[in-house]
Amino acid sequence: MGMAVEESQFHVLAVDDSIIDRKLIERLLKTSSYQVTTVDSGSKALEFLGLHENDRITPNETSVSPKLHQEVEVNLVITDYCMPGMSGYDLLKKIKESSSLKNIPVVIMSSEDVPSRISRCLEEGAEEFFLKPVRLSDVNKLHLMRTKCCKNIQNQETQENKESPEIQLQTAAQSNNNNKRKAIDEGISPDRTRPRYSDLTLTLTSTSLSLSTKYSPSRNSFFCDRKKLSEIPAEYQVVLWYEN
């Protein structure tokens, strides 16, 4: 299903001086459907990030389809800690000190389990610290670290809060079936094999906030309540996506 939100893939920049580890992390990330660029040093990483620093468009229109951004944006940096020259820690610092790059989440990888090293990195703003060798289960955690936010804003109704963090993607038909079992008896067709896009809702909930969005086929974007979106702290802005 070709939707602009889905095709604009989450782009990860992986930094590691080891060619074996670069190949591994690339495969791990690609297996999880991320777009990947690998570089072998911190300085090359900054170069790559710097190239796009000036290209970044700050949209002031209210409805932005990610596909409008033709340049390659980096959504996450994952870097080895121990590298000759600029270390992963140095790279982390440089990214967090940059006004244009500081919102990019950074994950550190290390073969050595040194608690002081881990806390130093987390204090400096790293999102996560993975011990090498990195596994698929680690990469699966990256879904939660997205800075791209579809700022498609339109007034919508919000839903009640739930206790635990949850992402729910369902069609209107599904949510109806959840709440009213007799819907089937009432003649709602159960053999709809494809979701109607206009029925799609995506709900993001946590203990403090519930964000409900609805898909608009004409705009090819997810829309949510403007007020609710602005309540989300900048560091937790989330990409809203649909996968089949």
Binding site: S18, I19, I20, D21, K23, L24, R27, L28, T31, C82, P84, S111, K132, P133, R135, L136
Partner: protein
């Protein structure tokens, strides 16, 4: 040799490698990343490991031959080898790097030389075994079978 027999041999050979500590679970992880779109992934990564390790072992040999030994540089090489062997599940090679780093820290040339011998030995062992394993795999595929290691290794 018929496919089932080959597959049994492959499985037994791999199981032995795990049992004897030559390989650890990271090796299984590599197979999880191999699929129809990347059917040669494991062989490719392991080839990279072979090339990289040989380079590092040569560098280590040269570095320990210097009149004034640069232990920092040697430690850096060993650290790299430890990392790459860990990344492919070459368990015994990885372990042979551990005392090596201790001797670097102690600036003990003799200790380092002994460790280098050990590393070389472990490396050659795993290289031969993995080459045998991949040869078996080729034969199985040629005979029309598949080696879905992940399913077997539970």
């Amino acid at each position: 040799m018929e496919v089932n027999q080959l597959q049994r041999t492959f499985l037994e050979y791999t199981a032995a490698l795990f049992r004897e500590g030559f390989l650890d679970s990271q090796f299984t992880q590599l197979y999880q990343l191999q699929d129809e779109s990347n059917p040669k992934f494991v062989v490719e990564v392991v080839s990279l490991f072979f090339d990289d390790s040989e380079r590092l072992i040569n560098d280590l040999t040269r570095a320990l031959d210097e009149p004034i030994v640069d232990f920092k540089k040697i430690d850096a090489h060993v650290h790299q080898l430890k990392g790459s062997s860990s990344s492919i599940g070459a368990h015994r090679v990885k372990n042979s790097c551990l005392p090596f780093r201790d001797f670097c820290e102690a600036q003990n040339t003799d200790g380092c030389l002994r460790c280098l011998q050990q590393v070389k030995q472990e490396y050659l062992l795993i290289k031969n075994k993995l080459e045998d394993l991949f040869q078996l795999e080729k034969q199985i595929v040629a005979a029309g079978g598949s080696t879905n290691l992940v399913e077997w290794m539970l």
